[in-house]
């Protein structure tokens, strides 16, 4: 400790110490001079050597290097500007991407003790779901000791509020929800287990601030006011503060306690049905428990629960826990996307660095003179290297600072555009600052170290290093462009290829019969009446029954092995009118007959995958899984329809006829002659007259489709932007290099021109040294992209990762830009004033 204090004391008074040492050594020298005059060394060096004992010389040298670097950079503003610009782009996109990641995946939610919150998913080796049956959640809650609290969240279809035509979004939560995550009311009270924990408690609802302000005009007397949700009276208990961010990204406006669910959804058995998955399960780990220990205990509890509900616990069911204290819960596919984005961003950084490296190398030639002098007066190579690297570091830090500012601005714009909750801010936290600093350092090493080494060794005349950098830069740009091209092509494919079904004038109607306790016979009767009434309606072209309506809330998907190949099938249950209503062509065989069972219709894509050229009709769908009992026979093949996987053109579909037992879970699709939305009032009034308890959810397929397209379009725009940035960087880099080379050879060019050489010939000589590295770079880029894009297979719907159009387009574009970037500066060099160039020097 004493030593550290003495060291710091020295640092603070180092000028005084230095003066003292100087005086002392001068005295020594004088005394010595009387006797003999040998061994007179460099006093400055001797003093510096003595000072080194205190271990602070590095700071002095750093300060020296920094002052010098700043002076040098100020003296060549053109170079400094280009370098900082390139780095701002390269580092800025990385900081922006990291800031986004930090915002959704690293920053804890503003809730009480977010680190101990987990989401629990129900899994088995073959099945996975986030929604568990409530009785199972309650069993786990009552018996688990590793969980200090369990929260259930049940999402339900939108409800009607009084006579407002706009739907309202309601979520049921366990009454401990708000107390457990530590949210205080803005007005009134929020839910709590004592007041809202029982079925007989008076029905209450709490509102988000936004909903209260926008839909209820910020009514100051809101507490105690009675609202009618789906016609049921509920009392407003409180308002949630506007800063609230929900657990697990739930954007509901209205929050009610789960025990009130049967009151609102009359006849519902969800609270007691141990087989009906309905609610997402969150929990708080007990103090000192790990997520692993909790998973272990829940596995033991699952075995005990099996004796209680033998039919409703899956084979090999287990519970997976995921950290839930961040806005984004890190599922494996989310991680995969993040990894892909980081690779793309780092590639941009690599392009920027290769770019700048080339510029620095070229600059090394002009600085030859200066560096030569410094070496001549005794600077060591190490010192020169350190000096050059400090310059790079200053550039990188400037670029990083500018990148940080750009990323903050971009993020702010994004947050405003997406209407993000107020607790999301663009202000960088320590992680982002640390990231910005580290990436600046990394970039300085990438772009600065090789040129610094070359220059310090005075070897920069050899063009090989520059050519390697050109190759690297062209290769990385090429990969970025190809990947961007592939993604954009895939998105266009999903956007502008027909999804295979009619969506323009169709609405889906979900009466939610099962949720209201309808039994199969009653449900069948209800549906038959509804169908008949709808058909009689003017403007209705056709009506059909379907279990999973297009773009619905639920998607069924099964994975199976057929002839050793994994296949994803989207199953559905429909009635014979379905294919006609959805405009799906029957390609082979026949349609279902009314009341027919044990038959199946498959999509063309499935037929192609299972029977190579043979007709699949009259046979069962082959499977590698062990077959039990009678297999359903294929009677027909219909056109592909990416009903529930709009983006996935590899999707295959299989249809079964709807039987009596399916009826409680059936929706309707209705095709109108005119705009589909015009049917809504008629459907509502028919439903009211059939059963006033029911509030069917009516959704226009066209608007659902448009919503999905919008998301895809936004993604395509983002990806195109990345490709554009890559192209821009590549262009800037090559222009700089060629201009530089040309200016270096100005005298040679002038002489050749004076001797009467053709301009085109000279142009060829200048450019020939770039031809090989560019060609090599493009080839490497294509090879890299072909290898790397196999990892993209899942994101590339409908096109191969070796899609020739994307590769050709990307390569052509790159070659074109590079050609412009080389010819422009080279042409300028040819317009040299011969006399002036030859008189120089």
């Amino acid at each position: 400790m004493g030593e550290l204090l003495r060291r710091l004391n020295y640092l603070l008074h180092r000028r005084q110490h230095d003066r003292e040492l100087e005086a002392e050594m001068l005295f020594h020298r004088e005394m010595m001079g009387k006797q003999h005059t040998r061994h007179f060394g460099n006093t400055l060096a001797l003093r510096e050597h003595a000072r080194e004992a205190w271990g602070w010389t590095w700071i002095e040298r750093l300060l020296q290097d920094l002052t010098y670097a700043l002076r040098i950079l100020r003296r060549s503003p053109g170079f400094t500007f280009t370098a900082v610009l390139v780095l701002t782009i390269g580092i800025g996109v990385n900081i922006a991407a990291f800031s986004l990641f930090d915002m959704v995946a690293l920053k804890p939610l503003p809730l009480r003790d977010p680190a101990s919150l987990v989401q629990l998913q129900r899994r088995s080796p073959t099945r996975t779901t986030t929604e568990l049956p409530l009785p199972q959640i309650e069993f786990y809650r009552d018996h688990a000791r590793t969980l200090s609290a369990v929260i259930a969240i049940m999402g339900v279809p939108p409800v009607t509020l009084d006579d407002d035509p706009q739907p309202a979004h309601l979520t049921f939560v366990s009454p401990n929800y708000f107390t457990e995550i530590g949210v205080q009311p803005a007005l009134g009270r929020l839910l709590n287990p004592t007041l809202d924990g029982t079925l007989t408690a008076p029905p209450v609802v709490v509102l988000t601030s936004t909903f209260w302000k926008q839909r209820l005009n910020a009514d100051p007397a809101i507490i105690g006011r009675v609202l009618h949700l789906n016609g049921k009276a509920v009392t407003v208990a409180g308002v949630i503060p506007s800063s609230f961010i929900s657990l697990g990204n739930n954007s509901a406006d209205l929050w009610m306690p789960i025990p009130q669910q049967p009151y609102l959804v009359e006849g519902s058995k969800l609270l007691t049905d141990p087989g009906a998955g309905s609610s997402r399960m969150f929990a708080r780990l007990a103090p000192g428990t790990t997520a692993r220990a909790a998973e272990q205990e829940l596995l033991t509890l699952t075995a005990q629960m099996r004796t209680l509900y033998p039919n409703d616990v899956w084979d090999n069911q287990f519970i997976l826990s995921l950290p839930a204290g961040h806005p984004q819960i890190m599922l494996p596919d989310v991680i995969q996307v993040e990894a892909m984005i980081s690779v793309l961003m780092l590639l941009i950084l690599a392009v920027a660095c290769a770019n700048l490296g080339g510029l620095l190398l070229a600059r090394g030639i002009t600085r030859e003179h200066e560096i030569g002098i410094r070496i001549a007066i005794g600077a060591s190579k190490q010192r020169i290297l350190r000096q050059l690297f400090t310059e790079s570091l200053v550039l990188a830090l400037l670029g990083s600072l500018a990148g940080l500012i750009v990323s903050i601005v971009a993020l702010r714009i994004l947050l405003v555009l997406t209407d993000a909750p107020p607790s999301f801010t663009a202000i960088p936290d320590w992680r982002i600052l640390a990231f910005a600093f580290s990436i600046a350092f990394l970039a300085a090493i990438f772009f600065g170290l090789t040129p610094a080494l070359q220059i310090a060794r005075q070897k920069h005349r050899k063009p090989i290093a520059r050519q390697v950098l050109v190759t690297a830069q062209v290769a990385a740009s090429c990969v970025l462009l190809i990947v961007a091209g592939l993604l954009v092509r895939a998105m266009h494919h999903t956007l502008y290829n027909s999804p295979g079904f009619e969506y323009q004038s169709v609405v889906s109607v979900d009466p939610q019969l099962g949720q209201h306790g309808y039994k199969p016979t009653a449900a069948g009767l209800y549906l038959a009446q509804l169908e008949a009434r709808l058909r009689a309606q003017p403007g209705v072209l056709s009506v059909a029954l379907v279990k999973f309506p297009p773009m619905g809330h639920t998607v069924a998907r099964t994975g199976t092995e057929i002839q050793g190949k994994h296949l994803t099938i989207y199953p559905n249950t429909v009635d014979p009118d379905y294919f006609r209503t959805m405009n799906m062509p029957l390609l082979l065989g026949r349609n279902f007959l009314p009341g027919e069972q044990h038959v199946t219709i498959i999509s063309e894509s499935l037929a192609r995958r299972i029977n190579h050229g043979e007709s699949p009709i009259g046979k069962p769908v082959p499977t590698d899984d062990p077959v039990t009992g009678q297999q359903d026979i294929v009677i027909g093949v219909v056109g592909n329809a990416r009903i529930n996987a709009l983006g996935d053109t590899d999707a295959t579909e299989q249809y079964w006829p709807a039987g009596p037992n399916d009826m409680p879970y059936i929706s309707l699709v209705v095709k109108a002659a005119g705009p589909a939305s015009s049917l809504s009032p008629a459907i509502k009034s028919i439903s009211q007259s059939l059963d006033p308890k029911l509030f069917p959810e009516i959704r226009s397929l066209e608007s659902l489709f448009d919503e999905q397209v919008k998301v895809v379009e936004r993604l395509a725009a983002a990806v195109s932007l990345i490709g554009l940035v890559a192209l821009l960087l590549a262009g800037i880099g090559i222009i700089g290099l060629v201009a530089y080379t040309a200016s270096q050879r100005a005298k040679e060019i002038a002489i050749r021109l004076a001797l009467g050489a053709a301009r085109i010939q000279i142009l060829r000589t200048i450019l020939s040294q770039f031809a090989l590295p560019v060609a090599l770079g493009i080839l490497t880029g294509i090879a890299l992209a072909a290898t790397a894009s196999t990892g993209l297979r899942r994101a590339l719907y409908g096109i191969s990762n070796l899609d020739p159009t994307s590769y050709a387009a990307a390569t052509l574009l790159l070659v074109l830009i590079l050609l412009i970037a080389t010819v422009l500066p080279a042409r300028r060099a040819l317009r040299v004033d011969i006399a002036k160039a030859l008189h120089n020097d």
């Binding site: 030593e3 003495r6 003292e20 040492l21 061994h39 003595a50 000072r51 004992a53 205190w54």
Partner: protein, 108 residues
Amino acid sequence: MPKNGMPTGALILLILRVLRSSSLHGYAIAQRIHILSSEILHVEEGVLYPALQKMLLKGWVTSEWGISETNRKVRFYSLTAAGRHQLEAQQSDYDRVTEAIQTILRTA
């Protein structure tokens, strides 16, 4: 850098030793070592001052400004308690090592 064969460890031991009885300035330290070694050891300023700076850092010596025999302001070094302790430790280390070397030279 003028360095003449003497290892820094040994130099520090010698400086500690000559400072044990009285405080001296840098030049006097070099002189004392030179004379006491029957004019065999030369301590150059290139090694003396780095060693003294290191000893100041370690807290083995302190320095004070005084007036030299030639009436000049100069820095005098004197041993601290830690310095005395260090001297004992180094001295016994040195004795042990030289004894061991002597044994080998005599017997091997």
